[in-house]
């Protein structure tokens, strides 16, 4: 197992163990689609963010987006626009809002909300097809969101 992956798994395990001072999904406040305040107060790690964006079991953003910076990740999708240059097009607060709940920026968008726990129709227990056995966790933890945002901020056009 690579180090990056180990870190990623560790991150996943933390997803439910909410850190003190973290903004919970239900307490997030959007202004014009953006979230001004960091969800954790801790800076995001762009390397971890890159892993989350490419990993099938985490963000899986590449299922829908092409990201040239992650050229080694195979099978990049085209449902959404390429994320190259996202760091130029959007501010950090806007990107945080997009990752947490893109529907606050693009009404009705196909892009899933990654930091949201309610308002779903027949939500399941992850990918089992079964009803959830406990409260629904967001797809990404607060720190995952911050890491992804930190990575997106590095995507600048040369």
């Amino acid at each position: 197992m690579t180090n990056a992956l180990k870190l990623g798994l560790a991150g996943m395990l933390c997803a439910s163990a909410a850190m003190a001072g973290e903004i919970k999904p239900k307490d997030v406040s959007f202004s014009d689609g953006a979230i001004e305040q960091s969800l954790t107060g801790a800076p995001g790690d762009p390397e971890k963010g890159a892993m989350i964006v490419g990993d099938k079991s985490m963000g899986n953003c590449v299922a829908c987006h092409q990201v040239s910076a992650l050229a080694d990740v195979p099978f990049q999708g085209e449902v959404g626009p390429p994320l190259d240059g996202a760091g130029d097009r959007w501010t950090e607060a806007e990107l945080r809002g997009l990752v947490a709940n893109a529907k606050m920026t693009f009404e009705g968008t196909v892009m899933p909300a990654f930091y949201k726990v309610d308002g779903f129709i027949r939500p399941g227990d992850a990918y089992t097809g079964k009803a959830p056995s406990g409260p629904i966790e967001p797809i990404l933890s607060a720190q995952d969101v911050e890491d992804v945002v930190a990575f997106l901020m590095t995507l600048k056009e040369e």
Binding site: F75, G77, E78, T105, V110, P112, I121, G124, D125, Y127
Partner: protein
């Protein structure tokens, strides 16, 4: 809001992507003689599509090739098995399908009209229901499992008798309320990913989602042989998988919800040839 920025971003990729994106222009002719309607004008009740395509057009050349000759089609083993079962006595009544029915060719045309409403009960029935009714009530045999090899082999054998005929399911009269229910489901954004059938198969057909080339999600090829699973896949099994993949609590195979969805999805393909047993990746 940044709609402008987004359009610009889309424009940049438009060029390299279109080559891959569209359904291909190949013609589907089976055994060198059966000309299939695999592309046609969308029926009027499909509001957001102009043209409908068989899922065959979105597959690789290698996968496509397996479907154009019955000798190469791996599903035919299961269809042949079903032809044997058709003649085999089973159940307490001591009968086979052939005891009561003419040769299986007599079912030509049936598949193209399925699902349909049973005039006696007013209930929507799919092919699996018709077959299991004969097994349990007329043969006094056990019902077959919905997605089991016996059942899907028989569904494919009966469907094969209509191969090449255009799908033509009724959506009006007694079918109307079921069709409405199915339509409602088609546009419902299920699960934690909040994705409807339409999000993927209507708004994004032709696009890659991870390693998959999205089709219009048509069922004229079902039961289809999936290379990945090396067996015939039922319509309801495919629906279940697609809903599960939205991180949703899915519906059961053989549920009334899936019967209604099957009617609606079948009706979106009205005009496409019955293709079963199609081959998919």
């Amino acid at each position: 809001m940044k709609f402008k920025a987004l359009t610009a971003a889309v424009a940049i990729v438009a060029l390299p992507v279109t080559v891959l994106a569209d359904p291909d222009d190949d013609k589907l002719i089976i055994n060198g003689e059966i000309e299939m309607i695999s592309v046609t004008k969308a029926p009027e009740h499909v509001e957001n599509l102009d043209t409908i395509y068989s899922g065959w057009h979105f597959r690789t050349d290698e996968t496509q090739a397996l479907q154009i000759d019955d000798f190469d089609n791996p599903a035919m083993i299961f269809v042949d098995q079903a032809a044997d079962i058709y003649e085999t006595v089973d159940g307490a009544a001591g009968k086979s399908c052939a005891s009561c029915h003419d040769a299986v060719e007599s079912f030509a045309g049936l598949h193209a009209q399925m699902p349909k409403v049973d005039p006696e009960t007013g209930k929507l029935v799919v092919m699996e229901d018709l077959i299991n009714e004969c097994r349990t009530e007329r043969m006094e045999a056990d019902a077959w499992k919905w997605s089991g090899a016996d059942m899907q082999g028989m569904v494919a054998l009966i469907g094969l008798q209509s191969r090449g005929m255009p799908m033509n399911v009724a959506i009006d009269g007694p079918a109307a309320p079921y069709w409405e229910q199915g339509k409602e489901m088609y546009y419902t954004r299920y699960g934690q990913l909040e994705l409807s059938c339409a999000n993927c198969h209507e708004e994004n057909y032709g696009n890659m989602i991870r390693a998959d080339h999205l089709s219009q999600g048509m069922i004229n090829g079902f039961p289809t042989y999936r290379l990945k699973q090396a067996k015939l896949i039922s319509r309801h099994n495919r629906f279940r998988g697609c809903i599960r993949d939205t991180r949703a609590e899915t519906f059961a195979e053989g549920s009334d919800e899936f019967r209604a969805l099957e009617l609606y999805v079948a009706s979106r393909g009205n005009g496409l040839s019955v293709e079963t047993p199609a081959v998919r990746q």
